[in-house]
């Protein structure tokens, strides 16, 4: 019977003591993926993550659509973080077409991308809370996200999948007296997330469950190629907003949050600290933004690349470095488009982290990798 099954689906019998367990894909503790774990009693011996259940062929789809109609479907991998997913694509197309973006548009983009980072991280934090059985930490972030979703709805007209970034700027300018509303809601949001410290991050129960579980050393984090909060939680100070500033990030004071421990606790705390940094960046951007001016360069209909050309751009998304490689052959569609996403890079650390852990610690280690299954499958 097992011989007829395709590879990967057959369950191997290794030992009398060792049991193979499928976590997912229809399991609340795995997301849209399967984690095949081999356990000896309560301890994990080996683990094999099996993504690919929500593969949608975004990269192939992009080859059949022109540079503008690619926008709505390319933001689908992470609908909560849709501005950041679109960011490298838009930067790449601008370089291919040779477009100079107005100064105000760059600031609007930074504000949108920071708001989106917080929206994504709040959703991630809510799931992290419920994975650990902390239902307050599910309700609070899920509710407080609304403050920022409301701001994004005011800017772009959609609560998720904003389709707001286009090659040449952004779709529309900020609504009238947006600065005031934004400042008020972002300040309140920051006050709210600081309250999470007492109930979640300084909570001895959380600390005892996550401290020293799934420790990823600094050397391993670099060797495995992890990015974003996972890398920064292992003591590597690497934030693309600081190291390779794009758009107007070099004019803003960006501080990256680094923790040395490299355990689940550090990996869950770094995104929370990043949200406060995002609030700082939004306040700075609102202050430094030119008060008037155009936000979009008028493009010809169906813009074309100039001959054979390729460009690679990357940005810091909510899940780490997010790169987009576009190859153009002078037609209205890209010849090839490749997304290099942070989720997939961080997933590679999972088998190393789970070895020797208790099965009960699996959800906290797995979700602390800041992994989004849909983005990894693309």
């Amino acid at each position: 019977m097992t011989a007829e099954l395709p590879p990967g689906l057959a369950i191997q019998k290794v030992d009398e003591r060792i049991m193979t367990l499928n976590v997912g894909p229809q399991h609340p503790g795995s997301g849209h993926m399967r984690i095949i774990v081999q356990i000896d009693g309560d301890y994990i011996v080996a683990c094999d993550p099996d993504p690919g259940y929500v593969h949608r062929g975004e990269e192939k789809m992009a080859e059949y659509r022109n540079y503008i109609t690619n926008i709505p479907h390319l933001e689908r991998p992470v609908i909560h973080d849709s501005c950041n997913v679109l960011y490298p694509y838009v930067l790449g197309v601008e370089e291919l077409l040779g477009i100079e973006v107005p100064e105000r548009a760059k600031y609007v983009r930074v504000i949108c991308s920071e708001l989106n980072r917080c929206i994504y991280t709040m959703y991630w934090l809510a799931i992290y809370g419920i994975f650990l059985g902390h239902s307050t930490m599910f309700m609070w972030p899920a509710g407080d996200r609304e403050l920022l979703i409301d701001l994004m709805e005011k800017i772009s007209g959609a609560r998720v999948t904003h389709a707001h970034f286009v090659p040449g700027g952004v779709r529309n300018d900020l609504p009238p007296n947006f600065e005031e509303v934004c400042l008020r809601q972002v300040n309140y949001f920051e006050k709210r997330i600081k309250e999470y410290a007492a109930v979640f991050y300084d909570n001895p129960i959380l600390i005892s469950r996550t401290r020293d579980t799934g420790v990823l050393s600094r050397e391993d984090a670099i060797r495995l190629g992890t990015t974003g909060s996972v890398l920064r939680a292992s003591g590597v100070d690497y934030d693309l907003r600081q190291k390779e500033p794009y758009d107007v990030y070099e004019e803003l004071d960006v501080h990256s949050n680094v923790m040395k421990e490299g355990d689940s606790y550090a990996r869950s705390k770094v995104p929370w600290l990043d949200m406060m940094e995002s609030c700082n960046i939004i306040r700075q951007a609102l202050q430094k933004m030119p008060k008037s001016g155009s936000v979009r360069v008028k493009l010809k209909p169906n813009p074309k690349g100039k001959g054979l050309d390729s460009v690679y751009k990357r940005v810091e998304s909510g899940r780490g470095s997010l790169g987009c490689h576009i190859v153009s052959d002078g037609k209205v569609e890209p010849y090839r488009l490749k997304l290099s996403v942070g989720s997939f890079r961080n997933l590679i650390a999972l088998p190393y982290l789970l070895k020797g852990e208790k099965l009960g610690n699996m959800p906290s280690v797995y979700w602390s990798l800041n992994y989004w299954p849909v983005e990894a499958d693309r």
Binding site: Y64, N66, T69, P72, D144, D173
Partner: protein
Amino acid sequence: MTNTATGIVRALNSGIKHIATKRFTLRYPEEKLKFVGDGYQFDPSTGVGIAGLKGRHMLFHDHCTGCQLCSIACEGVAEAIAMVKVPEEQKQNKKSIMPQIDYGKCVFCGLCVDACPFYALYMTNDYELSSFSKEGLIYTPAQLAVKPYVEQDSEIVITKNGATHG
């Protein structure tokens, strides 16, 4: 041990304090959110949009020329727009064709609005489009010409006692 005890007490205390704060829940459909503007619009002369909610479309029959640019813009996105014959005769619309939009397919990206050079297609604040049948989601040019009435009564208010929808 004392650290653990005080930590747990502090966590409980932080939760208990929230009994006094206001509830941050929008009680839809009794309350409905307020939006900025009259829906997403686009100005072809400057090439920049005007902020607003991307809801159901609004078609101006006296501006539409039947050029099909909105339909072409939708081709790679959702293929929700079909050009259909309309009985009325407009001076600028020789072929008498206008867009018909299937909201079962539409993703509300608004690229069709960006494509229209004649100020004929805008988006409105109407987001309550549910229907009992698939056919009910297909809006004919006549239905799209009606300006919707959208109730908007509540927005986020931040007080000392927390944020609330008021």
